[in-house]
């Protein structure tokens, strides 16, 4: 037997002819917070119930601390592993304290009453989950979220080294969601092992030390969040288009669902941007399903970063360098192929003067008239002003909303055809 705290080997659970959990191997050590993710029906809850011993596997075995969980004496097992299920119902008017003290069951002899120590522990766990002073409240009168927190506290009162949490935050607001996962992290750091099934992938990425992605009862992928949360993996398992990007503020991975690809039927639009002036339009047009190209932008510009993260083909030049005629010729095929080219409202200096020349090559050009909240278009040189006037002469000047409206009408027409 290896030194792992929890070992599952060849775990399988079959109901009738349907295999819900299919040959899963899992090794978990103390100190880990494992997130089990996967689409509905992938077998997350069943896996947790198998690990808790609630279900007897059709094949395979679970070992805890080196011993097979199926053969354990029931109260001995309950001192090693606790599970918080999704069932928060209670028909009888128990108080919160009475519910919490039920967690001491495996630690007490039959006629042993809960002592001061047990009371103390229950009270401490209740204040740990942030419900100090609620011990005499009726459990059934609490909100769904509070009941989840109480049952979490009950699992802590049970004082086990393996904690299984089935959707622990399903009815919690973000404050309590953060709280329950921070506590799970803390418990893991104290040397317990915590395994939680999580629906929210960004939450899973933020807190879990390791993720296990289930697909139709099998492990599709497992490892550190950045190894598992990859757009191509998620797209296949969940059958959607996703974007995985690190949050600007915290650096933890954020998973965003993207609209379904509307195919090549989408209008081809080229955005000439810079200084973040194309960010809003890029997002909106992307969501509408336009087939986008971008450029010429400077490297590390926020427009350029967005285009890259969305996989939009674009033309870039080095940061602070000047756009050359060579590069304009290269970018020309974008604007020539585009059904519509939009000149966004960025400040025009010497470095990006070439974008005006590029705009003049467009088949159909729209010049964005900046609204009060957008980047104002300032033009530094006389040369720039002349060039801009020339470009405007051959183009329509529209506001942000007018552009969207026009694109929507165009799409409706093509859909009608």
């Amino acid at each position: 037997m290896s030194g792992e705290f929890l070992m599952a080997r060849g775990l399988t659970w079959t109901v009738g002819k349907t295999t819900i959990v299919d040959n899963i191997d899992l090794a978990v050590e103390r100190g880990e917070l494992i997130g089990v993710i996967g689409p509905n029906g992938a077998g997350k809850t069943t896996l947790l119930r198998l690990l808790a011993g609630l279900l007897t596997p059709t094949a395979g075995e679970v070992f805890l601390d080196g011993g097979g969980i199926a053969g354990m004496e029931s109260r001995g097992r309950a001192r090693l592993v606790s599970i918080m299920t999704q069932d928060v119902s209670q028909v009888f008017p128990f108080t919160v304290m009475e519910i919490l003290l039920m967690g001491r069951y495996p630690h007490l002899g039959r006629f042993q009453k809960e002592g001061a120590e047990d009371m103390e522990r229950a009270r401490r766990m209740l204040s740990y989950v942030g419900l100090t002073g609620m011990e005499d409240r009726g459990f059934s009168g609490l909100s769904g979220g509070e009941r989840q927190l109480v049952l979490f506290a009950k699992a802590l009162v049970q004082d086990t080294d393996l904690l299984l949490l089935d959707e622990p935050s399903s009815s919690l607001d973000i404050h309590h969601q953060d709280r329950i996962f921070s506590m799970a992290q803390e418990l893991a750091r104290e040397g317990r092992a915590v395994i939680a099934s999580v629906h929210n992938l960004s939450v899973a990425a933020q807190y879990c030390s390791r993720l296990v992605l289930l697909e139709k009862g099998r492990i599709a992928c497992s490892g550190r969040p950045e190894q598992v949360l990859k757009a191509e993996v998620l797209d296949r398992v969940y059958g959607i288009r996703t974007m995985v990007s690190p949050s600007l503020a915290t650096g933890s991975l954020t998973v965003t669902v993207l609209p379904r690809d509307k195919g090549a039927a989408g209008t081809k639009v080229h955005l000439i941007g810079g200084a973040g002036s194309a960010v809003n339009l890029t997002r909106e047009l992307y969501r509408l399903g336009c087939s986008l190209t971008g450029g010429i932008a400077h490297e590390y510009d926020s427009d350029e970063k967005l285009w890259r993260s969305l996989g939009i083909r674009c033309m870039t030049v080095g940061a602070f360098s000047r756009i050359t005629d060579e590069q304009i010729r290269e970018a020309a095929h974008f604007v020539e192929q585009a059904d519509l080219t939009i000149l966004c409202s960025f400040p025009i200096g010497q470095g990006n003067l070439g974008n005006l020349s590029l705009a003049s090559l467009a088949r159909r050009l729209v010049v964005l008239n900046p609204g009060p909240e957008e980047v104002p278009r300032s033009i530094l040189s006389q040369e720039g002003r002349t060039l801009f006037a020339e470009v405007c002469a051959g183009a329509r000047i529209l506001e942000h909303d007018e552009i969207l409206e026009e694109l929507l009408t165009a799409m409706d027409h093509s859909a009608a055809r």
């Binding site: 029931s74 128990f94 630690h107 104290e190 040397g191």
Partner: protein
């Protein structure tokens, strides 16, 4: 010398192991969380007033119960009789006639009411906790119907006239049969709905009632009237004989059920939670159902199937001492005894010299309560806080 090694069944050994306290390792973690100041009222002291009040009420009801009837006997005569017999008083003994009425008619009847009332109430608590269902009771889940089928078999086959123990033996068998059916139905997976177990119980009830009626068709007229009389649920004419055979089963049965108070608490969390807290769910369920079936069987052998005690009393006592079964079970035993003694008293006092049988009184009091309970549960479900 030979040493005999007695081999106990495995479930017995495992359950006895629960009696051994577990040594608790030092809680080492999450302990830096600050201690919370507290004031403890333990279960025992908290409910003491309720138990005292219940006991006093029961004592008063017993005195009234032996006093009231076609012939009024003052409760004081009973007390005086007791004091004289115990040598604590030099007063003359009360009237011979009064003593006969008290000792041979009234007292066994009141004691029978107490025994049956507390048994049915205790079994009601057990059923409600076991199936986490406020609508459960021995009668709604079909244990009483099974017992009645047993009784009718005993009566029509002629066993009942042979031995006093025939009816209890058959009611126990019938109630156990129902318990097996309920156990099998409730152990099939994925049945969490509150109504499911009640509807299953009703199905079992009607099946056994149907069989009972079918049997009555083939029986003689005097057997039919004997059975009908029995089913109406009454305590008249109960003698010390009835108590002699029932008490040795009912009292230990109730005590055994009260050993499972903590398990019943865990059952209310749901069977999965109970399992993960280290309870041997299936074993506990089997033992509890078996004891409850035996207790119900014997209780209805004494009195006939008396409805609503098992449903009504646990609810009333939950208001008084809360849902913790460690307090609820003994409180319901007291409350059930009190309730049935009072109902019997009411039946005797309402229309003298006629007696209204106690089963009729409990049904009249209980039915509106059952209806209000269903309405309340419906309303709660509508809000979505199942």
């Amino acid at each position: 010398m030979q040493v005999h090694i007695v081999s106990f069944p495995a479930w017995f050994v495992q359950f006895m192991s629960l009696y051994v306290p577990v040594s608790r390792p030092e809680c080492k973690r999450v302990d830096r969380i600050r201690r919370v100041p507290h004031h403890d009222a333990t279960v025992k002291t908290r409910h003491a007033p309720a138990f005292i009040v219940l006991s006093l009420l029961l004592a008063a009801a017993v005195l009234l119960g032996v006093g009231i009837g076609a012939v009024q006997v003052s409760p004081a005569s009973l007390i005086r009789f007791l004091l004289v017999k115990l040598g604590l008083s030099a007063l003359p003994l009360p009237d011979e006639r009064d003593i006969t009425i008290l000792l041979l008619l009234r007292l066994p009847r009141v004691v029978a009411a107490m025994l049956v009332g507390s048994s049915l109430a205790t079994c009601g608590v057990v059923m409600q906790g076991l199936f986490r269902n406020p609508m459960a009771s021995p009668e709604i889940l079909g244990l009483s119907a099974g017992g009645s089928l047993g009784a009718v078999i005993a009566i029509t086959a002629g066993f009942a006239s042979g031995s006093l123990l025939a009816i209890p033996a058959f009611t126990i068998a019938g109630a156990l049969l129902s318990a097996v059916c309920i156990y099998l139905l409730s152990s099939s997976r994925g049945t969490t709905s509150l109504l499911y177990i009640v509807i299953a119980g009703m199905a079992i009830s009607s099946l056994f009632s149907g069989l009972t009626s079918a049997l009555l068709l083939f029986s003689r007229q005097y057997q039919v009237s004997q059975f009908i009389f029995w089913t109406m649920g009454g305590l008249d004419g109960r003698s010390w004989q009835h108590i002699l055979y029932s008490a040795p089963v009912l009292v230990p049965g109730m005590i055994a059920l009260s050993f499972f108070a903590r398990e019943l608490n865990l059952f209310t969390l749901g069977e999965e939670e109970a399992f993960s807290l280290g309870m041997r769910v299936e074993t506990a369920k089997r033992i509890l159902l078996a004891i409850a079936a035996v207790v119900t069987g014997v209780a209805i052998a004494v009195s006939g199937p008396i409805g609503f005690v098992g449903l009504l009393v646990p609810h009333l006592l939950r208001f008084l001492v809360g849902p913790d079964h460690r307090a609820l079970l003994p409180a319901s035993a007291l409350g059930g005894a009190l309730f049935l003694v009072l109902c019997d008293l009411l039946g005797r006092a309402l229309l003298p010299p006629f007696e209204i049988r106690v089963g009729i009184i409990t049904a009249i009091l209980g039915s509106p309560y059952l209806l209000s309970l269903i309405v309340r549960i419906q309303r709660r479900n509508a809000v979505g806080a199942r």
